[in-house]
């Protein structure tokens, strides 16, 4: 709330011309209208659709590769460091390649989203599987579980807290990757709307979309991921409740 007041105050000082620094009231009005007439809401839906597609692929592939790496020492030693270095590359950097490989359009952007989340997902899964309390594994094999059975019934469930944290981070990374890719790429998502706003010199649109992006991220994180994470951490006894 105080940020909004400060914002309004700066606007009143008229340091910048009106179109470059809109007032919060203008922004909220544009936000409201855009949500009602569909300019923003449809863009949001488009973005969310891409995000979900990319995210699901990133999570499924990430967990699978993570398990493979954790269960195979040579693979971990060779690909493990490679993945760490890939993670430090911002995923938009892949966009030029993706545009070449997948032609302009949907798959390229989704590819960037997948790349945005997958490394983190792999790393979380690998460390989750590796950090299972040895006693639980010993206990499982003591009770007669062996091999794949032991893995699916003991090791994998025991590493779920790590995997959930990984999923939460991956969501944030995917969301950022999507925005970056949309700004540079094509389509009907939020990022493109933001670029139109810039091209038209309409800072109201730009700010509205920034707000949408921030709130979408905040809401999903708080309402979905934090709750699940908290529940799982408590159940697994990792919180002092």
């Amino acid at each position: 709330m105080s940020i909004v007041i400060l914002w309004e105050a700066v606007y009143r000082l008229e340091i910048w011309p009106n179109f470059m620094f809109p007032s919060p009231i203008q922004v909220f009005k544009s936000l409201w209208n855009g949500m009602i007439d569909g300019t923003y809401s449809i863009a949001l839906l488009y973005s969310l659709k891409r995000l979900l597609t990319g995210y699901v692929i990133a999570v499924v592939a990430g967990i699978t590769i993570g398990i493979l790496l954790a269960s195979n020492k040579t693979m971990d030693e060779t690909f493990g460091t490679l993945i760490l270095s890939f993670q430090s590359v911002p995923s938009v950097v892949w966009l030029p390649l993706a545009l070449l490989w997948f032609k302009m359009g949907e798959p390229a952007i989704i590819f960037v989203v997948v790349i945005g989340g997958i490394w983190n997902m792999i790393i979380s899964t690998t460390s989750g599987v590796k950090n299972v309390a040895p006693e639980l594994i010993r206990c499982g094999s003591n009770l007669g579980y062996k091999g794949l059975h032991l893995f699916s019934k003991v090791i994998l469930p025991a590493s779920i807290p790590h995997i959930i944290t990984g999923m939460r981070l991956a969501w944030a990374f995917c969301w950022r990757a999507l925005m970056a890719a949309e700004i540079l790429g094509t389509g009907k998502g939020l990022g493109q709307n933001l670029m139109w706003g810039r091209d038209m010199g309409n800072m109201t649109t730009v700010l509205s979309i920034m707000l949408i992006i921030a709130f979408t991220g905040l809401i999903t994180d708080n309402l979905v991921f934090k709750k699940i994470e908290l529940k799982i951490f408590r159940r697994w006894g990792l919180l002092n409740s």
Partner: protein
């Protein structure tokens, strides 16, 4: 009948124990007692099949063991319950592997939960239980498998004294009812003497069994039984030397376990300096 034959174990340079020979009758309750580092936990892990010996073998009913098997079930020091399963699921976990009939599983689990007084807590998760309850679940999870041998690796060492006394009593009851062979690792002399038929005292450097003490008293034993104290004294005498060895290694050779019976203080010479 369990026979340990010439067991050797080393971790790299350090020899944990060598030439361990022991035979345990069916239905016997034996304790492995010794200072930390004497390899008592290693020994029980080898019997369970979780660890491998470097030499010698473990023979149960004329068959040499290879790896883990559901006829030898371990109760771990900190219970090692699966946090994502409730009490019922934890207890049923191992059973599902050897028994496919879900009615039979339910009957057995309910029965064993009654035995450890946890029927009310069936749907609780481990993080909602106290330390003593967790260990009860762990014991139930092992008992329900109906193993030939129950292996217990310092199961009560993390519990407070009251809970421990209660669980001692319950374990004695369970043992008398089921007649299972129990191998119990502990560093608590009282615990060992109170619960077991035989106390195997293990030494350190060189590691191995130094004494096999029979505790000839009927069960269940009460804490206040004076016989218990004299037996404790007997075990303590054997163990004292070993404890001293450990402390000397850590603190230096001047360390003496038992000082002169009259404390000598320069300020307290009864006027000798006058």
């Amino acid at each position: 009948m369990i026979t340990l034959k010439d067991l050797n174990k080393r971790f790299g340079e350090i020899e944990v124990f060598k030439k361990v020979n022991l035979s345990i009758k069916e239905g016997e309750f034996i304790s492995l007692l010794g200072p930390s580092g004497c390899g008592k936990s290693t020994l029980i892990n080898i019997i369970s099949g979780l660890d491998k010996a470097d030499g010698g073998n473990v023979i149960i009913d004329n068959e040499e063991i290879h790896g883990t098997n559901v006829d030898r079930i371990m109760v771990f020091q900190n219970a090692a319950l699966f946090p994502w399963m409730n009490v019922y699921q934890n207890v049923a976990f191992g059973l599902k592997n050897i028994c496919k009939d879900s009615k039979e599983i339910k009957r057995k689990v309910d029965q064993v939960l009654r035995k450890v007084h946890l029927s009310k807590f069936k749907t609780h998760y481990p993080h909602e239980l106290s330390g003593g309850m967790k260990q009860r679940v762990s014991i139930a999870r092992s008992l329900v498998m109906d193993p030939k041998v129950l292996l217990m690796d310092e199961p009560f060492s993390a519990l407070d004294e009251q809970t421990r006394m209660l669980l001692h009593h319950e374990l004695q009851q369970i043992w008398m009812e089921t007649g299972k062979t129990i191998i119990f690792v502990t560093h608590n002399i009282r615990e060992a003497v109170k619960l077991s038929d035989r106390v195997i005292v293990m030494g350190i450097r060189p590691g191995g069994i130094i004494e096999d003490i029979k505790i000839d008293m009927h069960h269940p034993r009460k804490n206040t039984d004076p016989n218990l104290f004299s037996q404790e004294e007997k075990v303590y005498k054997v163990l004292k030397g070993e404890i001293e060895k450990v402390v000397r290694e850590e603190m230096g050779n001047e360390y003496k376990f038992e000082k002169d019976p009259i404390p000598f203080e320069h300020s307290n010479t009864m006027g000798g300096g006058i």
